[in-house]
């Protein structure tokens, strides 16, 4: 009996070992490095001395950096909400009205993934730039006589982010709505609920797993985003991701960069836990 159990757990370890090794090597070890670095001390010309210097964390609370962290969270939250607002009707439409074209429509949503994010972000630079397509069209239509500041604005960042992250919202929403039992809609209407009420009392609550999954999938990477603000944001929309990148590549303050990264991770885990507990717990239970 004991042998069997032992054998089973060995077998499981064997089965999981590629995954375990992979995660250990490329996820856990770097994470531990970051954690160790965040308590280290950066040399004047780069490099790092390990030790216990909590000062890196105190530096995070400098109003200048706090400002960037708050802005990052606001941008990520705005992006999540916009993706939800835009993505929900789309997912709803595809799931309920898509009919036989459902699968093609979902494929179309995923097509942008086939090119790299960097290329797509550059495309926005081309579109929104001073001499870009958007400005030339506006001038051609005589809506404006000089190029507008479309790029390097917070709006441009938001636009680029919504564009990039929308599919991450739509897919889980679609998955949740797709398996929704339409007969429940009929039952609600039979009991006197208008379409509006049916949506808010039945369809939406039952799509909550999709809303939660989509929100998390959009919120986390957009809080760590640095490519889009880099290309489309200019100086006014520096996000934590840019700050961390700066510390590693330009300022050569790896210790502070690591502390920032750890702080961001802690914040995100906290936010997600809070969110799931608030919104998720009662909605998800029993569904």
């Amino acid at each position: 009996m004991g042998k069997g159990r032992h054998g089973w757990s060995l077998g499981l370890a064997g089965l999981l070992s590629p995954v375990t090794i992979w995660l250990g090597l490329f996820f856990l070890v770097p994470l531990l490095f970051i954690l160790a670095y965040s308590f280290g001390k950066s040399g004047v010309y780069g490099g790092i001395t390990l030790g216990f210097y909590p000062g890196n964390y105190l530096k995070v609370f400098n109003p200048l950096y706090l400002d960037i962290i708050v802005r990052t969270l606001v941008i990520a939250l705005t992006n999540t909400l916009l993706c939800l607002l835009l993505g929900y009707p789309l997912a709803y439409f595809i799931a309920f009205k898509g009919g036989r074209r459902k699968h093609i429509l979902i494929l179309l949503i995923m097509i942008p993934f086939w090119t790299s994010l960097l290329l797509r972000a550059y495309a926005w630079v081309v579109i929104l730039g001073g001499n870009g397509i958007a400005n030339r069209t506006l001038q051609f239509l005589h809506i404006t006589d000089h190029p507008l500041d479309l790029i390097f604005t917070p709006q441009a960042v938001t636009m680029g982010m919504v564009y990039s992250y929308l599919p991450f919202m739509i897919l889980p929403l679609y998955a949740a709505l797709e398996k929704f039992d339409r007969r429940l809609k009929e039952a609600a209407q039979d009991l006197g609920a208008s379409r509006w009420h049916t949506f808010w009392r039945v369809t939406f609550p039952l799509s909550m797993p999709g809303v939660i999954a989509g929100s998390i999938l959009v919120f986390i990477p957009s809080a760590g985003e640095f490519v889009i603000p880099n290309l489309l944001g200019g100086a006014r929309t520096v996000m934590v991701g840019n700050l961390i990148q700066q510390q590693f590549l330009e300022a050569r303050d790896w210790a502070f960069g690591s502390a920032l990264a750890v702080m961001l991770a802690v914040l995100l885990v906290g936010a997600i836990m809070f969110y799931v507990r608030k919104v998720g717990a009662e909605k998800l239970e029993g569904v």
Partner: protein
């Protein structure tokens, strides 16, 4: 005779309480097509207020489709429906004074039993103590007290069905549509719920339109029954009429069991018909208002319980016992006539000494007045 049954008013089944009863649901010439397929074919029915009306028919005959048209989930391709005197074409389901107990229950999985039952009341603006009281009463009614806080995923199929029932009943609709509401229950609970539903319907006076494919259930519960086959109404009548005077072969076969003889009319005189089957068997039938002529093809039907062992009666035949099935209160004998036709008869299990055995040749007899000429 055929026309007479269709026109019959419900006073037969309902002690003639009120001859001038108003119509709760009226279907006139309702046809529903899905593409080429005709699911409901020219259905005309008047269902009276406070009536327990059943739609009975085999699977796929259009029962659910009919209910869905009354509830407003489908519009008839042709014809019109009125509920409570008002035409309902174009009226959305949430504005119709009907509630449905769905064949698939359709319980809201994210709401507990209380909130499921309270759903319709909340939409109607009922709140506070009244809401609490009515929901609690409804749960009690379907024997689900104490389950109010449970999620549907923690209920058995039968319990879910009862939630569906409470959820519809609690709204006190003008008309309650029930689509095989007892399908998932075990026999004992089913019988209990049948009785309970019948009493409840009598108490609250709501019109019930009850869909079932169980003829026994329809017979025990209904004031009137519409037997449907392939989208067409075969007969509308109260249970005794349906059983004793089935209009055609389908109804005779579908309601209970019956023995049918097909043959040629040999003679017709003073309400008495003699039929000669192809195998030469002669069947005497009392004709009740049926117009048949000599030489015409016709069917005669006789219920198994109207046939007895013995040689005294208008019809006497010699049979060979082929199979004996013990049914508890009675025993079913499957016998063969000398011409090869099958004849089924039931005997009450009271006399034990002289029961025939398999293979034995015995005479059987039945009376002409218990025999019926069928159309179709």
């Amino acid at each position: 005779m055929e026309e007479r049954h269709i026109k019959e008013r419900p006073e037969v089944g309902d002690a003639g309480r009120d001859v001038e009863r108003s119509v709760a649901v009226e279907l006139s010439g309702v046809t529903k097509r899905f593409g080429e397929f005709v699911a409901v074919d020219d259905l005309t029915l008047d269902i009276y207020e406070g009536e327990f009306f059943s739609l009975l028919g085999p699977s796929g005959c259009g029962k659910t489709t009919t209910l869905r048209m009354i509830a407003g989930f489908e519009e008839p391709t042709e014809g019109g429906i009125s509920v409570d005197g008002d035409p309902v074409r174009g009226v959305p389901p949430y504005r119709r004074p009907v509630n449905t107990v769905f064949q698939s229950y359709a319980i809201f999985p994210h709401l507990n039993v209380f909130d499921n039952v309270a759903f319709g009341l909340r939409r109607a603006g009922v709140k506070g103590e009244e809401l609490q009281r009515r929901v609690t009463d409804a749960c009690e009614m379907v024997q689900l007290s104490g389950f109010e806080k449970r999620k549907p995923s923690m209920l058995s199929g039968g319990q879910q069905q009862r939630v569906a029932l409470a959820r519809a009943l609690v709204n006190r609709p003008k008309v309650l549509l029930l689509d095989e509401p007892l399908g998932a229950l075990d026999l004992k609970l089913r019988k209990e719920m049948q009785l309970y539903l019948k009493n409840l319907q009598h108490e609250v006076g709501i019109t019930f339109i009850y869909v079932t494919h169980d003829q026994e259930e329809a017979l025990t519960m209904s004031d009137r029954i519409a037997v449907i086959n392939e989208g067409k109404v075969q007969q509308v009548a109260d249970p005794p009429t349906l059983y004793e005077l089935p209009k055609n072969r389908f109804v005779a076969d579908f309601i209970g069991q019956t023995n049918v003889f097909s043959g040629t009319v040999e003679s017709v005189r003073e309400g008495h018909v003699t039929l000669r089957t192809s195998s030469g068997e002669k069947v005497e039938v009392t004709a009740r208002g049926v117009e048949v002529e000599v030489g015409q093809e016709a069917h005669a039907a006789v219920r198994p319980e109207k046939i007895r062992f013995g040689s005294e009666g208008d019809n006497v035949s010699s049979t060979t016992i082929r199979q004996i099935v013990y049914l508890g209160v009675s025993t079913q004998y499957i016998t063969e006539l000398s011409g090869g036709e099958r004849l089924v008869l039931y005997q009450q299990n009271s006399r034990e000494e002289d029961n025939p055995e398999v293979g034995e040749e015995v005479p059987v007899a039945w009376d002409a007045r218990n025999c019926l000429i069928l159309g179709g």
